[in-house]
């Protein structure tokens, strides 16, 4: 995207010393590699049944614990080996990409929309609404995310939709906080006052004037939240409270390899590598996106 780089250069009169971070902006090679990796994961997720060599959940016990690239009893090779039940690890990783991406994107979109709406209303109108929202946010942030998610998962039971719902419940305060701060800042801005004095109704003001100006930091938060959500889904599945057994997830594959670290390193190692590379790619892209959207914006 040459236009994006152009824009970065034009706005490069900031005092932010981080703009000197060579290797991120000067050579956009890393973001390109990250983008290619993400494209690969998306492709794997979309075409999983077409490209995976085996059924991810079917395996013959005769072929169990095959090391990577060893042929199974049927003569076909298992490029990344098989697990304790003889299931093909590569096929599992390809199918697992679906769960990770779906959970990551769906929970961020859900929590982002809910948190933004609540946060903007709270910041713009203030009063008791703001008090209630911010107290709820405080209470929730005082409670460790993963513990909250685990407790709710036990209530709802395992399941794809339940994991997404849990992650939305647990992460909306992030967006609410940022959206509220933005709305608070914009509430007294001149263009909002102008719109109000022209008689614009509040939904119009919020939608046309406040939201577009609050969007940049929210997008940055959302981009960095996607890898977080992917890791949390894997963690829940790893602890046995995430995906049901009939859904392949990188986290549950990892957990199933946990007891065979000595005999079969690949079962636990490779799905974890898939998580790490996906998360790393999104993080790299997020860094780049943040600097592109606004070089002045820094979130620790």
């Amino acid at each position: 995207m040459p236009g994006s780089i152009q824009r970065f250069v034009l706005s490069d009169n900031s005092v932010n010393p981080d703009r000197f971070r060579a290797g991120r902006q000067a050579r956009p090679i890393l973001p390109m590699i990250a983008l290619a990796l993400i494209a690969l994961v998306v492709f794997a997720a979309l075409c999983a049944p077409l490209i995976s060599p085996y059924q991810p959940l079917q395996g013959s016990i005769m072929n169990n614990l095959r090391p990577p690239a060893m042929a199974g009893g049927d003569g076909f090779p298992h490029l990344l080996g098989t697990d304790i039940l003889g299931r093909d690890v590569l096929s599992g990783i390809i199918h697992g990409a679906r769960v990770s991406l779906l959970v990551g994107v769906a929970s961020v979109v859900g929590a982002g929309i809910f948190g933004t709406v609540v946060g903007i209303l709270a910041g713009y109108f203030g009063g008791w609404l703001e008090e209630v929202v911010m107290r709820v946010v405080d209470v929730q942030l005082a409670f460790p995310f993963i513990l909250l998610a685990i407790v709710i998962m036990y209530v709802l039971g395992r399941g794809l939709l339940n994991v997404i719902v849990v992650l939305i419940i647990a992460s909306w305060p992030l967006y609410a906080r940022v959206a509220r701060a933005q709305a608070l800042r914009l509430r007294t801005s001149e263009f909002v006052l102008a719109a109000r004095s022209l008689g614009a109704a509040w939904p119009r003001i919020l939608l046309r004037h406040v939201l577009p100006n609050a969007l940049t930091p929210l997008l940055v938060v959302a981009t960095f939240a996607i890898p977080q959500m992917i890791i949390f889904e894997a963690a829940l599945s790893f602890l046995g409270v995430g995906m049901p057994l009939e859904v392949v997830s990188w986290g549950s594959m990892l957990a199933s390899g946990r007891n065979y670290l000595e005999q079969a390193w690949w079962i636990a190692t490779l799905p974890g590598l898939a998580i790490m590379l996906t998360v790393l790619s999104v993080n790299i892209l997020g860094d780049w996106l943040r600097d592109w959207l606004d070089p002045n914006l820094r979130l620790a």
Partner: protein, 305 residues
Amino acid sequence: MLHVVLVRLFSSMLVLVGIVVVVFLLARVVGDPVALMIQPGMTEGEIGDLRRALGTDKPLWQQFVVFAGNVVRGDFGLSPWQGEPALGLVLERLPATMLLTTCAMLTAFFIALVVGAVSALTRGSAMDHGAMSLVLLGQSVPNFWLGLMLIMLFSTTLHWLPSAGYGTLAHVVLPTVTLAFFFMARLTRLVRSELLEVMAQDYIRTARSKGLPPALIFRRHAFRNIAVPLITVLAVDFGALIGGAVVTEMIFAWPGVGRLMIQAIGQRDFPIIQAGAFVIAVAVVLANLAADLAYAWLDPKVRFV
């Protein structure tokens, strides 16, 4: 100063009240504890007695009033499985969790300080690039996977360190590294970017032109000014650190509050879930309160608002 303290104390109390409500509701929707305790061959009357003994036959709001009253007195009831006061069982496990989180936080803090400072002072060098790449990697590694990889390398292959358990110094190493890794990455990045900003300030140039030695400039002028954002992030991350400790404790069979709670959730042990959640929430609230008070102590601008 007193005003700041009182306002913070009040809002901390509000948060704690909210926690009590949430903890009560969460544990009540997890399921009926009586259903799990019914033995084959128990009569209706015996089941009713069990319900009355646990107080779960009353309406929800009455259960809450009783619950809140007991919480104030530190009484979360007896664990139905272990027959001991739940709060005591949780507090028994607290030192192990505190040990783990403290070790991880100190490790993360000191490494981040050194690496971040070196990175900032040698900005653009190969060392800086290397450190920043490691940081990016550190922020992307799921800690449960890192833990398994460390076990594989240092326990099952090299036989240097134990893979699970508690008690000796050797047992502390792997869980600490596992838990510290993410925070190390985050803090290093923060130290670096804050230092870069501070080092560009006029007062640093003034100090330098006075001829002060670089070590003194760093200690007296630069470090003090990055202390406030550092403390903020340490406090904000404390909850996440405890959350990470839950997973780490599960991997390394570490006898902490997190592992106790995961087991309690599996057994539907209400009192332990409630006591554990409450203790953790109190710890997080106290950490944030301490951070707020630290600002006031460190930064005169906060004190006189």
